[in-house]
Symmetry: C2
Subunit: 306 residues, 2 copies
């Protein structure tokens, strides 16, 4: 099961009960954080999730409302007993940013490994999660270089007894072949393909913030089990502002959700002026029924399909 | 009237309902902030105080729990319509810190003028507040260079009619001499000393965090109307930890308050492990009766004595 928790769903400045951009993915006891605005660690403390198992931080862009919680979070991670390296991926400029952070967080008991845009997910091999979660990125259209993220939790194919027998795989090797990709026995190589059935769909979560809607988003989010998307403005009346500030309205996010044939849309990154996002829920639901309005500490659990 | 508001009274890491070090002074519509840990701007938003009139930020030391809220606060100040320069004073290293902040807050519509330790309060002349509030500093004993602050809100002496008559000050100059330091009339200089009575005590607030108790604190805080002091540890049983980490227990803070003959002690900067500071209030009150336990958004109003 993949747990997705909105830690902060505000944009621009944090206000009481609405911290800045941060989303937590939890899978098999490990964590991925997307963005880290001010208040992120407070929200993590509020849900009592612990810090030590945070392996990867994905930064969408280098605006303060998405990164200003990082120095404090890294310090807290340092106090949590973390020793393993922490991976941070983000757009061009992320390495320079961490140069500046050194003065804020001078001594950390773990290494930080930074992957700037252009990384491949196999560069993340030391990461506990990466064997099971594939990370993809997409260039967005904001006032700073900004990337969208897609996370695919891979699902192992079922063990196929008939196939194993047809391929003459000795029965005592079956269990090993569920764990390792190949086994050699009496000079013959047996691999997983000889015993595993058809590939199965995993869990797909995509996260798009901050940006104008662009056509490339549609295939990127296609069939997502959960599409987390910015909705800086609730009312359609704010379209002009959304265009000027390179953000989206609820309607625009819902239109993307519909076009991308996602299973559910979760709106987040509400502007400070949007005091009651729930009041505009129907604006989005008229276009895409399965719309949820985000709030801090809202948790969504996603399971593999039966 | 001087309003003192604890914006955040936690140390080390922010937790729900207890943000990190920040204290706000408000006087005649202007503001001074002492320290700016993560959550400071959320707390300011919670008390609806506005941002634009923040003239001076005093930093005690450059540990993250006292400064990590600064990039976000400065950005919000930039969005508030602030145009006048903002003064920031702090220990050696403060200028270098703001060099690092440039990358986090690249464009601000106001100048930042930084005064590193050693500044004199007359360096602050452009500041609206400095004619009326004198800032003094004291070196403390922490694991990083750290300074304590004392703020004295000056009080004008009363107009002394008998003295003005005795000094043969023409009556039509009396009103001018209440506003300006001297007036020339018919080649004769008349100054305020000729019409004003004895100096009157102002309002004295001192703030000491983070540090071990040192003797120099006692004269520095002497007669404070409010002595805001760190109390990282509630129980006397934590004295050894307090010594090792260069902090104080409630008892130590109360002992300073008593020795400094202050009017009231306000404890703050509680360690994360100190879940219920109020439970240790009596530990401090046994030594110094007028002890208040801080909490976020607690406001104390201080008036001139009758």
């Amino acid at each position: 099961m993949l747990e997705v928790t909105l830690l902060g769903c505000g944009g621009s400045m944090p206000i009481p009960n609405r911290y800045l951009s941060a989303t937590l993915l939890q899978y098999k006891g490990r964590k991925i954080l997307i963005d880290c605005g001010e208040g992120t660690q407070v929200s993590m403390k509020a849900i009592n999730t612990g810090f030590k198992t945070l392996d990867l931080i994905c930064i969408t862009h280098l605006h303060g409302d998405h990164i200003n919680g990082l120095p404090g979070l890294l310090a807290t991670l340092g106090n949590s007993g973390r020793k393993d390296p922490v991976f941070i991926m983000g757009p061009v400029g992320t390495k320079a940013l961490f140069g500046a952070f050194q003065i804020l967080v001078p001594h950390l008991p773990f290494d930080i490994q930074i992957l700037e845009k252009g990384f491949k997910s196999n560069e993340l091999t030391p990461l506990n999660l990466t064997n099971e979660i594939q990370v993809s990125i997409l260039d967005l259209d904001h006032s700073a270089p900004c990337i969208g993220y897609r996370f695919e939790v891979k699902r192992r194919p079922k063990f196929d007894v008939e196939k194993a027998i047809a391929n003459q795989v000795p029965k005592f090797l079956w269990s090993s072949l569920q764990k390792t990709s190949e086994v050699v026995f009496e000079d013959k190589i047996y691999n997983q393909e000889m015993v595993l059935g058809e590939s199965r769909r995993g869990i797909l979560v995509s996260l798009i913030t901050d940006t104008r809607p662009i056509p490339e988003i549609i295939p990127f989010i296609n069939q997502s089990d959960l599409f987390i998307c910015e909705g800086t403005y609730g009312s359609d009346d704010n379209l002009k502002k959304a265009m000027a500030n390179k953000h989206m309205t609820f309607s625009e996010a819902a239109t993307l959700a519909k076009a991308g044939q996602v299973k559910a849309l979760l709106l987040t990154h509400f502007g400070v002026a949007l005091k009651e996002p729930e009041a505009y829920a129907e604006v989005a639901r008229r276009i895409f029924t399965e719309t949820k309005i985000g709030q801090d500490q809202l948790k969504i659990e996603l399971k593999f399909a039966e």
